[in-house]
Symmetry: C2
Subunit: 265 residues, 2 copies
């Protein structure tokens, strides 16, 4: 259950683009990185969509999500090959043409000419400097593929190292709000069903927070332990502290070991 | 780019449910497992949505996705605590009530009574036997939380071990079609921009296949290598073999080492 939080943070959506994420070939490693970065800035990641390299599907998702969310982030599809169609799809979603971004073009031209980047500045690579009209580049020091911002849409690379470099540059330029606070308590050898009823009452006592219950399994902890993690989360630091203490007491009544670190760490 | 494949496989969508997947606390580990299992059965995973525990959002997503896709799979939100709302949301999306599923209830009652499962069969745990009217349980040997199928929606647990157990049971009961074939070739120390143009022409030669180009980075391979993986994928095994050979030749012309295994393995 999620209750209305106060204050309401800006809401964000992440579109992870690429057939390889839907075939089992590649795991999306960018969602947790983005989630933690947004949380720290008081922005709330509220939905992720993993989408294939199909033009109509991408355009439709960008149109829908940029209307539904305050901020939309994308990863993938900004390289030089035929399956890199994100810029064209963002342009279509905004109803603007793709135009050559002269600053980006000259910068890429120079970096290929002076050998900073490998290879010829051929037609495929020049294509990377074509951005939707009105877009602003997202800078990064590690790759040729330029990300860009247009309206509330932020287009980044899929390769995790480049995604992180772009996000590092972008974050201080995003709006910010009250950061999310959370407290997590872990108890070993307990079961969710043992305290579901008092946990429900506790959620009613803290209507502006999200209280979550997450079982952990032997195969997911270093010491092969099982148990439950209870989490209190919200934008009111005082309420989170109080709810955290109440969660610790609740788990303490199970008579089991209760820790605040990571389970099994 | 994705072209129309022939034959067109049944299209699937996966809804991974849980605030913890959107906060950076937990990585969704189920998508690659589901993707590979569906591929092998000739079903195509075409979209993943990671969604928060917000009732209105879940109901809306289930309604939209079960109309848009042949099959919808979900993970998460089927335990005994207040934040486990998937069954109620599926019921609302189908416009049916939650009813006590008598077989599941008696089975759970027995398993708690004989000590197979820990604890009392209290109200919170009894709640797990309430399923949308008309739902059929998805069996699994490792957990108390029952998954279920209703229409084209398949509801499973979020904990990876339980998700896999439910999927193992479910897979042979799903429709099947021609399995997806793929060939992947890796070349080291090459750059996508070096062969983007011939790769585009090759995609045009194989309109029923998806040809993909995926750079890999030193931090993602055991031997710290970088390069590009080219993949040919589709439902026509003969065409995939031919396209695979053409990709190998294309990479071979770069004069670099070309392998068929995993990069760096």
């Amino acid at each position: 259950m999620t209750s209305a939080s106060s204050p309401t943070p800006p809401r964000a959506c992440f579109l992870a683009i690429g057939n390889e994420l839907l075939s089992g070939r590649t795991e999306d490693a960018n969602t947790p990185v983005l989630a933690r970065a947004l949380n720290a800035r008081g922005l709330r990641l509220e939905e992720v969509r993993i989408l294939p390299d199909i033009r109509a599907r991408l355009v439709e998702s960008i149109v829908t999500c940029r209307a539904a969310y305050d901020l939309v982030f994308t990863s993938g599809g900004i390289g030089p090959t035929h399956d890199d169609i994100t810029a064209a799809c963002v342009a279509e979603a905004f109803g603007v043409p793709l135009v050559r971004h002269e600053d980006s073009f000259r910068k890429l031209e120079k970096l290929f000419a002076d050998g900073t980047f490998h290879g010829d500045f051929n037609a495929a690579r020049q294509r990377m400097a074509w951005l939707p009209e009105g877009a602003t580049p997202i800078e990064n020091s590690v790759s040729t593929a330029p990300g860009f911002a247009l309206g509330n849409v932020y287009v980044m690379a899929g390769v995790p190292r480049i995604f992180r470099a772009m996000l590092d540059w972008l974050l201080p330029r995003l709006p910010s709000a009250t950061p999310l606070c959370s407290q997590a308590w872990h108890a070993f050898d307990v079961y969710e069903g043992d305290f579901a009823a008092p946990l429900t009452r506790l959620q009613q006592d803290f209507p502006t927070l999200d209280l979550g219950s997450y079982p952990f399994e032997p195969d997911a902890t270093p010491r092969n332990e099982r148990g439950v993690t209870l989490v209190a989360k919200g934008y009111d630091a005082g309420a989170v502290r109080k709810a955290g203490a109440a969660l610790r007491d609740l788990l303490g009544r199970t008579g089991r070991q209760v820790t605040k670190g990571e389970p099994g760490a």
